[in-house]
Symmetry: C2
């Protein structure tokens, strides 16, 4: 097992201006694993579900090279359930329901086959669960990427700071970067957050793209201008999954290769939003991914020779 | 005269979270001409000022190769005056005062030396004045670039549409593109606006960069992530000035060269916001501009070879 993914595997009900879907398969680890599977076939998920979780989805994971032996099935339990409704601009949403269910008592156990994974992706979860996973690893992975959200900044800032200090790459959105750092300027926010421990910071700006920082460099990747955004659910996780999947495939964690990984992650995310939930990720072809990456190249590349 | 610039030459009072400045020289044509002067030395302004306008600024224009014989000085008149106050996020502002003064009766007269200009930049003004300038030209310029704003969309949509149909490149911000087209998606908005006549559309997204569209292609240029934005006044006009100045210098109006022009325009705009009003534009060196363009290259360039 080369890539270990930790995060929710769950059900979502989603409403957007274009329609709604009830109790579809979702969750951070689901989006991450499906996206990463376009690049690597040696990943595994650590998560927890209830007896209600569909066997068909587990088989779909396995068919794509995603090991599911680390997904604990709680007898008589119900899977994590989230329901949300997007506003017209698609950039903001209201959470209608959050039923933790089996997630409330989740105590992650990393299977032996995963203990030496080189790449570890910590999807958004309580920082305590994220820490527990890192502590179980037999050796320090080459790269640990962590996603988190404003909720943890509010209710457990101390535990969150401890967890952030243990990882290599932190991914958050622009509002969260401002909240975490207390700085409005994203450049200043980035330097403060890098001072908290991580070597790299990715600031996700949704339709405005993403920024990658280390202490000396900055890289900007745009989001592809799309005719329609059908459902933004999972876009950030798809981005993260494409990012770490590409890094795992290429085994190169230089800044230059992270730039490439961000473009591939952005490409996968741009597909994710075209249909409801994981629908588009399930039907994607390698050719489509390559074509989309070419669109990104065409979108931003220019040729200036300074003397 | 190779580049004709039409727009306000005026006074501004500006308040930002960092301080305030009273009655400093501003106006769209001022920012455009100063920015363009880093690339071309054969430009001229058509505008109107009052007797209160400082002779020192006129001399500064001339020193930079900007001809001012097309700036009418109204005896006993007062120059256009605008006062505004920026909110903490610097993306929104309140207009406190707009005194049209001599601008109210502005009847543009294009001097004979400008009648064959190859490049025409129509800064934000009433569409009727913009039309009057185009009608006076002895020959159709190779490229006409037009800036406008939401105000004209509201009070004279018919005249605005007529004017837009006469130009090659329209520059507006994202909110204005949505307002003008009635489409929320910028991709759809762009195609609708290109259907109104212009061959190219530039959508300015402030700190989120700029998009260049024609009917087949799209290019995205980021804004440079800055530690501090001191005063955003004139950023859009500096962008336009750098854009058309670079095109005039290189005499190449292909899509690929417009990409380069947008990067140079973005570089100039990134300087503009570092100090109050036109202060930073006055002290800029060619070396600084080149260094900044290199920062843009480093910010967005990546190397992906698809097989």
């Amino acid at each position: 097992m080369s890539l270990l993914i930790v995060g929710t595997v769950a059900f979502d009900s989603i409403k957007t201006p274009f329609g709604k879907i009830d109790k579809t398969v979702g969750g951070a680890a689901t989006y991450i694993a499906l996206s990463a599977s376009y690049f690597t076939k040696k990943s595994g998920i650590v998560s927890v579900v209830g007896e209600d979780f569909p066997e068909a989805t587990i088989k779909e994971f396995n068919r794509r090279g995603v090991d599911t032996s680390g997904i604990e099935v709680v007898k008589g339990g119900k899977s994590f359930y989230w329901s949300g409704s997007y506003h017209t601009d698609m950039n903001t949403r209201d959470t209608l329901v959050t039923d933790l269910n089996v997630l409330a008592d989740f105590n992650p156990v990393v299977p032996p086959a995963y203990l030496n994974a080189d790449f570890l992706m910590l999807g958004n979860l309580t920082p305590i669960v994220q820490q527990k996973v890192m502590q179980q690893m037999a050796k320090r992975p080459k790269l640990i990427v962590m996603d988190t959200m404003n909720f943890w900044m509010e209710i457990m800032p101390k535990e969150l700071a401890e967890t952030i200090a243990m990882v290599d790459v932190l991914t958050i959105n622009d509002a969260e970067a401002r909240q975490l750092s207390g700085e409005y300027s994203l450049v200043k926010a980035a330097q403060k957050i890098l001072g908290m421990g991580p070597k790299f910071l990715i600031i996700k700006k949704g339709e405005h793209g993403a920024l990658l920082f280390n202490k000396e460099q900055v890289f900007f990747a745009p989001a592809l201008p799309l005719e329609d955004v059908f459902d933004p659910t999972g876009a950030g996780d798809s981005f993260a999954g494409g990012f770490i999947g590409f890094l795992d495939k290429s085994k190169d964690i230089s800044f230059d290769n992270m730039k490439r990984a961000i473009i591939f992650g952005s490409a996968i995310a741009s597909f994710c939003v075209e249909k409801f939930g994981i629908e588009r990720l399930l039907e994607l072809t390698d050719e489509e991914v390559e074509e989309r990456v070419q669109e990104f190249i065409d979108l931003v590349q220019f040729d200036i020779s300074l003397v």
